[in-house]
């Protein structure tokens, strides 16, 4: 073979080798990223992050948000932590977000990874508070702890206390803390404040904390209100499948024994 043919052949072989080696590396990197993307439930993103995927396309891990947070709540993930390397997060139980009115973290972010459209901190959705353990929550046990409720920056909006009858004592009221997802910002103050050894209320990523109705579901009472009348059989004529001896009284009494 001629010399230049040989060298051309070598060039092709070398190129193929480089290309396939790098392609392999690329595949490995892609797969690794998939795994590294999953966010542990305790790690909350700063305000202005709508979903984790978009965030990982945008955040360049500069830490400017960390630097401008006046309460030093944010931290960049380090190697071997289960949060995407170098990205900012906080842990509610350690130190919650103070919901600064001017949202300095969002202002500092150069890339818009923290969305600039977030200008009212009450619209932030860093996560959603959930009573994860009704067995230990003191209010559920019938005591008046109320700490999560009182500490909430959106008291009586994000968390309300709903009275229920105390079945155990038979004569007291239980004040159940109920979180409302349309108001809760996920700041984490409630989780931080919970007086238990291990918080009974925890702020979880929205994806974990929130259910979602089937998109074709309609809630009858809402539809009724919208339409101004019942859209199915009028209540009076509706045949309820009730156990024997029970009837439905429409004029305010509700379900009652037939004999009375």
């Amino acid at each position: 073979m001629l010399k230049h043919q040989l060298s051309r052949r070598r060039f092709i072989v070398d190129t193929a080798r480089a290309a396939s080696g790098v392609a392999l590396l690329g595949v490995g990197l892609g797969l690794y990223t998939k795994e590294a993307k999953s966010l542990p439930a305790y790690a909350l993103r700063p305000p202005g992050v709508e979903n984790e995927d978009d965030f990982l396309a945008a955040c360049i891990r500069c830490g400017l948000c960390v630097r401008d947070c006046p309460y030093d709540i944010l931290k960049l993930s380090e190697l071997a932590e289960p949060v995407a390397l170098g990205t900012p997060y906080f842990e509610a139980r350690k130190i919650p977000c103070e919901m600064c009115e001017d949202i300095p973290c969002v202002v500092a972010c150069p890339t818009g990874a923290l969305d600039k459209e977030l200008t009212n901190i009450d619209d932030a959705r860093m996560g959603l508070a959930v009573i994860v353990d009704q067995e230990t929550c003191l209010n559920y046990l019938g005591l008046r702890c109320d700490v999560c409720h009182r500490i909430c920056p959106l008291i009586n909006e994000a968390i309300t206390l709903e009275p229920r009858h105390n079945q155990r004592s038979g004569k007291h009221t239980i004040f159940i803390p109920v979180v409302h997802s349309d108001k809760c910002t996920g700041c984490g103050k409630c989780e931080r404040g919970c007086v238990l050894e291990e918080a009974a209320i925890k702020v979880l990523p929205l994806k974990l904390a929130k259910g979602e109705l089937g998109h074709h579901y309609r809630l009858g009472w809402e539809e009724k209100e919208k339409a101004g009348k019942s859209l199915v059989t009028p209540d009076k004529e509706h045949k309820y499948n009730l156990p024997e001896g029970l009837k439905y009284e429409h004029e305010g009494e509700g379900l009652m024994k037939d004999s009375r």
Binding site: G30, A57, I60, G63, R67, P110
Partner: protein, 302 residues
């Protein structure tokens, strides 16, 4: 004169020019690399009111006024599908223009903290005569560069930042070290034992990106005094991209000018330091007249 021994590199220059002139650019470079770390640490170490720069190499704000953003990471973000906003873009344009003028790989030799590590490995290789190791093409870095952009597009994430040693090291020094030492140790050992200048000279896509930025940069090292070269080979021995020297230094017969125009010259100036004959100096791209190189010009000019 024959080539000097690898472990003797630079000794002759010290004898002839004195210690300072034989180490000037190296020292200035290390100072610059150190400053790039120190300016980010004044705030955390001295307290509020002493901030010089916030952030890190991927994006920063200096004196609350000068925004800088790494154009490579921003490009990856763009490929990952994120809309680039002006705040980051302004910083990236400033950085791009800067390196376009002074030489793209000035980032490597004057800014990047990994360079200190790989230089150390290379120095030890010379000192302890560690030879051989894997050989692969220096173009591999451009393939990797392309790959990082493609994988960013496919996965929708800034993928390289999961393993980029450059940002890992810089960020770790500033925000907390963790296990970053392991990554750096791996690169050090790789360069020391497995491949000479393996990381910076062959693989790193950050260096590859910046080399492209400085393809036609203004500031260049030149060998105006090339006919004084006595083939001691010291410059070849210290140069992290030694393939860039030969055309300029030995190309007089072929009509090649004395300016090192290869985009992979890092403008580190180490060749200027170690040359006992003062062959090299900082110059610019346009000072590349083949017929009249500078030493002759001086003779002609009154």
């Amino acid at each position: 004169m024959a080539a000097n021994l690898p472990e003797q590199v630079g000794k002759e220059a010290v004898l002839v020019k004195g210690w300072w002139r034989a180490n000037k650019w190296l020292l200035l470079r290390r100072t610059s690399q150190l400053l790039v770390i120190v300016i980010f640490l004044t705030g955390p170490l001295l307290g509020e009111g002493y901030w010089i720069a916030k952030g890190n190499l991927t994006s920063s704000l200096t004196f609350d006024i000068l925004p800088l953003t790494d154009p490579y990471v921003l490009l990856q973000s763009f490929f990952a599908g994120h809309e680039i906003i002006s705040q980051a873009l302004i910083g990236a344009v400033i950085v791009t223009v800067f390196y376009f003028l002074v030489g793209g790989r000035v980032f490597c030799s004057w800014v990047c903290p990994v360079n200190v590590v790989t230089d150390a490995a290379d120095g030890l290789r010379r000192k302890y005569k560690i030879k051989g190791g894997a050989r692969f093409s220096r173009d591999l870095r451009y393939w990797i560069l392309a790959m990082t952009l493609i994988v960013a597009a496919v996965t929708g994430s800034i993928v390289w930042e999961f393993i980029n040693p450059v940002s890992i090291l810089h960020r770790s020094i500033i925000f907390g070290f963790g296990y970053a030492g392991l990554v750096i140790l791996a690169i050090f050992l790789f360069d020391l034992l497995l491949s000479r200048q393996g990381w910076c000279g062959h693989l790193c896509p950050v260096g590859a990106f910046y080399s492209l930025l400085g393809r036609i940069s203004l500031v260049r090292v030149s060998a105006p005094n090339r006919e004084s070269c006595d083939d001691c080979m010291d410059c070849f021995m210290v140069c992290p991209e030694k393939q860039v020297i030969k055309p300029a230094l030995k190309g007089a017969d072929k009509g090649i000018g004395p300016v090192i125009t290869d985009m992979n010259c890092t403008n580190c100036g180490r060749c200027i330091d170690v040359c006992a004959k003062d062959v090299f100096k900082f110059s610019n791209r346009f000072n590349n007249d083949t017929l009249l190189n500078e030493s002759k010009k001086e003779e002609v000019a009154p």
